[in-house]
Assembly symmetry: C2
Homo-oligomer: 429 residues x 2
């Protein structure tokens, strides 16, 4: 016998997880396509050089990398952004720009598994490339809002800021040359707290005063409205500027759309990654902030610079589907609660197979998920246990008088079309 174990950091997805994951994916896809986003897919395996750039670097150890049978240095993708950049360089002319794509698929990282973190997980990315203006920024933010609304999450807040504004501010302090270290430190605010950030900023900037000023900047959103924050940051960063005008335009469009209430201007949002140049954002669920951001991203100046000369500016977001599912589970979302395998279980008892099959065909054609019990000679106790495992609410049996339907939760028995109507009603939810 071989042990049927999966690798460390990997896991099977059972129907109780996979049914809601499929449902959530469909809801998101419907939102994306309603905004004219189109799906693409890329290979799971790529040349390592394509994924890591020439030389590779630190990321190296965290990816699944090997030599294939042809001796090629290959690796499994560790995110969906790098393959998208390579895709745009390869297919720029075919797909045309502006281009809106979404990509929902697995990625792999070899990092040490921790609670809630796996070596194989689902990413959901959506980006608009080929435009750099307030309307494209707003489109992405609007998709995010529509996605969370469609998932039935009632309380969520998008924390948004602008990298350019932060850069201008650092220029006023003559700290532009240390911006990467400063941004990375600020990005840890939620994790390590204000005191520790202040301490590290003092070390980086060489002065407690600078640290205080940066802290004042990144906490300027607290207790202030979006527009108040914007004006405060404008004055801290040397007056009205291109980035501040962009934020104003975005806020105006969000207001037109009637969704500006879900967006707060939070200058502590920087995103650690170097490539963001414009707006940056994270998404927090008001009821479980501890889970961290469930949807993050921003605007970048040039997506595909590794592979092509032409500039491809863009703006995009990434939803961590596994983290989102965990969050939905904690908030008791009905998307996760109702995991029935079928709406109805039909028992094809001996001599009644023809009736059972023809009833099943009719109900299935109507969209009622109809399971047929396949060990019809089993004891009733076993059949009940089977229905319970799959959370199947109704059972249909046949006698010489026709069919009857039992509600397995109440043990109530019904007959005739009224019974089918009730199953149909419930199956719609």
């Amino acid at each position: 016998m071989i042990d049927p174990a999966v690798l460390k950091g990997f896991r099977d997805s059972l129907p109780g997880d996979e049914i809601p994951k499929k449902r959530i994916t469909r809801i998101l896809e419907d939102v994306f396509t309603s905004y004219g986003f189109v799906p693409i897919d890329t290979p799971v395996l790529e040349y390592t050089e394509v994924l890591l750039g020439k030389g590779g670097g630190e990321t190296d150890k965290q990816i699944f990398r090997f030599h294939d049978n042809g001796g090629r240095d290959v690796a499994m993708r560790f995110d969906l952004t790098v393959p998208f950049a390579r895709f745009m360089a390869a297919h720029h002319d075919e797909v045309g720009v502006p281009f809106r794509r979404y990509h929902i698929s697995k990625v792999w990282r070899g990092e040490n598994p921790q609670k809630g973190r796996y070596r194989e997980f689902m990413q959901c990315d959506f980006d608009i490339v080929g435009a750099d203006n307030a309307i494209s920024d707003t489109e992405i933010l609007s998709v995010m809002h529509a996605s969370f609304a469609a998932l039935g999450i009632s309380r969520y807040t998008f924390h948004i800021s602008h990298r350019g504004l932060f850069s201008l501010f650092l220029e006023t302090l003559s700290l532009a040359d240390r911006s990467i270290d400063i941004l990375r430190t600020v990005d840890k605010l939620r994790k390590i707290g204000e005191d520790e950030v202040r301490k590290q900023l003092s070390d980086i900037t060489g002065s407690a005063e600078n640290a205080d000023r940066i802290i004042a900047f990144i906490t300027a959103g607290e207790g202030r409205s979006f527009m108040e924050t914007l004006e405060t940051l404008e004055s801290l960063s040397g007056g009205i500027s291109e980035p501040s005008r962009r934020m104003r335009e975005i806020h105006s469009l969000l207001t037109d759309l009637g969704i500006s209430g879900s967006f707060v201007f939070d200058p502590s949002i920087t995103r650690g990654l170097d490539y963001y140049t414009g707006i940056v954002y994270e998404t927090f669920l008001d009821d479980i902030p501890s889970i961290g951001s469930v949807c993050s991203g921003g605007r970048y100046n040039d997506l595909a610079s590794l592979y092509m000369k032409e500039k491809t500016p863009g703006v995009g977001s990434s939803i961590g589907l596994d983290r989102l599912m965990a969050a939905l589970g904690e908030t008791g979302s009905p998307l996760l609660a109702n995991q029935s395998y079928a709406d109805l279980l039909i028992i094809p008892s001996q001599g009644k197979e023809a009736e059972a099959f023809s009833a099943a065909a009719r109900l299935r054609a109507e969209g009622i998920r109809t399971d047929m019990y396949l060990n019809p000679d089993a004891k009733m106790k076993k059949i009940y246990a089977y229905a319970e495992t799959g959370h199947i609410p109704y059972m249909m049996t046949f006698s010489d008088d026709g069919f009857s339907v039992k509600d397995l939760r109440t043990r109530e028995t019904m007959t005739g079309e009224a019974a089918i109507e009730r199953i149909r009603e419930e199956s719609r939810h």
Copy 2:
């Protein structure tokens, strides 16, 4: 610059391929769930021993296998059957039996790429495990029929046979000990032709007479009805038997369901693989038989014997999605023809952004896929080219008099609610 190339045998999926693939997948998933099938997923990477069994063997070279950073011997799955067997051994008690699952996902094989064959491709498997009777066989065949009907394929035929009947026949010839070689040879009938099969069978059985008898058996379906074929094979295999009774029951249930016309009894179907023990089947599209079987499978006695002692009989099917897509393309299926990125393109011209965004919000909420053009200062020629790339049929512009809609195919201009009604109508197809 790094060359944005993909690995040999791999390919990107552009929206023109990915949109219909998603549509086809949804149609299939809706059929599967209407039959009470539930989705599962398994890791892409597994212990090599789990995938290949102890020792490995011939398959070895055709898989992507390596040592991970922890020194484990791992491999990427090459089908969805072996991971399902491992899954059942690991989760038998949790999921309960009978268990109906489907799994639509990628698999990888390192074989040399040929026309239409890739190293990364999509499989779509559906199985019922934990039951061995005519009703479970019929359920699988019925799902296959419903799937092809739902895809709008008008002419398809399921070729079905029974391994047990063939075995009984070989026993009458005292050739049971050579059955694996014989089955594999017969399986090549379509590829190498009757004469070559006869020659090889003569070699295997040591007699031209045996070869002739086997040829007579496997061609017994030609020009005969299902029941005539069954009776002929019964007499060739020593009379009424367990397998022939099973075929009779299945045929009777298919007749009750009104779908028996799509099934022919074709004893030349054997499936090369050792593990089939009961019914076996392949599916051919009447208009392009040359593409080969697009959905194949059969009944097996014991799925998970490598990993557990308990027997898990089952019956299952596999659709090669890439081959099916190619076939649908060749038959001019509307599933592939209509690949529009959106139903409508809105132009948010300067000063009219608010109107454009609020119109988009309304139309998207109604399910109309609405793209917003993001370089609104572009020349009309460029906007038209953009709409053409995405096969977007309508364009909406704004003036001080309100909006107007242009049909980009006829250049006809419309205004008011009637215009929106027309877009809505067309978007439903």
